[in-house]
Symmetry: C2
Subunit: 244 residues, 2 copies
């Protein structure tokens, strides 16, 4: 028996009940595009991000706190909100020092599920902050669940690839007895030299959905490691940067 902490990959929020998340660090993964946008906005100096699970709640909080409201439904800016879910909407000149209320289709839902199930710590993961996530997981030496937000509960390629990237970098430090983790790592190894091309070649459903909106540039950005390499942690209802 190993004394290393366990690491599991959960490919969909609809599978989260199979894992005991207590005493775990849960990494919420929603590569296209919630957790990429979160990393970017905080990297660019946003004070905090409040993730909420409905457009109504987003509008209400935005009014109460007089802050930026943002979010997507089915990949587009949700009616009633000011901004969408593209990293390019959140440069430092715009978000510096500000509070953002963000609602997204899949990522926020998973975050609240993990919280309700008693996760010890919740961080968000995206390629944009891949190294920061991996370094934190290794340093903490606690049980880990890589939670893919998926698309309407169906496993997707890009979140699975990110889980595989993390497994690939941290596996020596964990007990990885989990087929989903091994499959994710195999797929990442296959895709890592050109993840955009991998998604295109394999007809990734999100590739089609976003290119249909003209968002090729967003996809390429979200697949680039360490462009916003900070650790984003959920604390008291808000996502903030954890000082490195």
């Amino acid at each position: 028996m190993s004394n290393k902490p366990t690491l599991y990959t959960c490919l969909s929020p609809a599978l989260l009940h199979l894992y005991d998340v207590r005493e775990c660090i849960v990494v919420v993964i929603d590569v296209l595009r919630a957790t990429s946008t979160m990393a970017t906005a905080l990297y660019n100096g946003a004070k905090e991000i409040i993730p909420v699970d409905s457009v109504e709640r987003c509008i209400q909080l935005g009014r109460e706190l007089a802050c930026i409201t943002a979010g997507e439904r089915d990949g587009q800016v949700a009616p009633g909100l000011q901004y969408g879910n593209s990293s390019f909407e959140y440069p430092r000149s715009f978000v510096g020092g500000k509070t953002l209320v963000l609602t997204t289709t899949n990522g926020t839902k998973l975050l609240h599920m993990a919280l309700a199930k008693g996760a010890t710590e919740i961080i968000t993961g995206s390629f944009l902050n891949l190294s920061a996530v991996c370094e934190h997981l290794i340093a903490q030496n606690k049980k880990v669940i890589l939670g893919c937000a998926a698309w309407k509960d169906k496993p997707n390629i890009e979140d699975t690839l990110f889980a595989g990237a993390v497994v690939s970098r941290v596996k020596e430090h964990f007990e990885v007895n989990c087929d989903a983790s091994h499959m994710a790592e195999c797929l990442y190894d296959l895709a890592k030299d050109d993840m955009y091309e991998f998604m295109k070649r394999n007809d990734a459903s999100h590739y089609h959905r976003l290119t249909g909106f003209g968002l090729e540039k967003d996809i390429r950005h979200c697949l680039t490691p360490d462009l916003a390499n900070i650790l984003t942690q959920y604390r008291d209802g808000k996502l903030v940067v954890l000082p490195g």
Copy 2:
């Protein structure tokens, strides 16, 4: 828009609710070892197989019908039953003309779920009858769901590989707009030259479980295409061979 029927891969019974199984052929996949054993017993002349979801029901039916009772729980012969879940227990000399009542951990459960949700047709899939399954799917030209039985609802490597093998062979005939199918096909392409070695190298949980029971030979057998190449269809509560 294509006029081809859709094909989806469902990586776990816990995700089946995401798919509309009505008007679909559902392929129940439990490579290690339920659907492999089913193919073998029917290929070797068994009259029919009655899949049941509990050991108690298996014992009861075995008594009423005076037939063979078989099943595993956690990979071993279940207490109170006569036989296990290895293809090697069902040679023609033993099962020819007989009825088998079989209970398994994951495969039977998925079969009953698909039935309850209104699948038009249920067949079972394993590498042992890979070609028969693919030829049938192409010939029927109906919507398909490849349903992985998984392990206690957690996606596993071997069922995913089988789904990938089917996708690889039939995809030209279907509309495959499904990340799980594409991921399964990528993994199959990576593994197909030596699937046993792939499972071993990637620490497949079922590889460990079964080799722990000395069942290396079973795994190798279950990963060999077309050794029992018949079509097994669920009809009126029983699995039977569909004449080719």
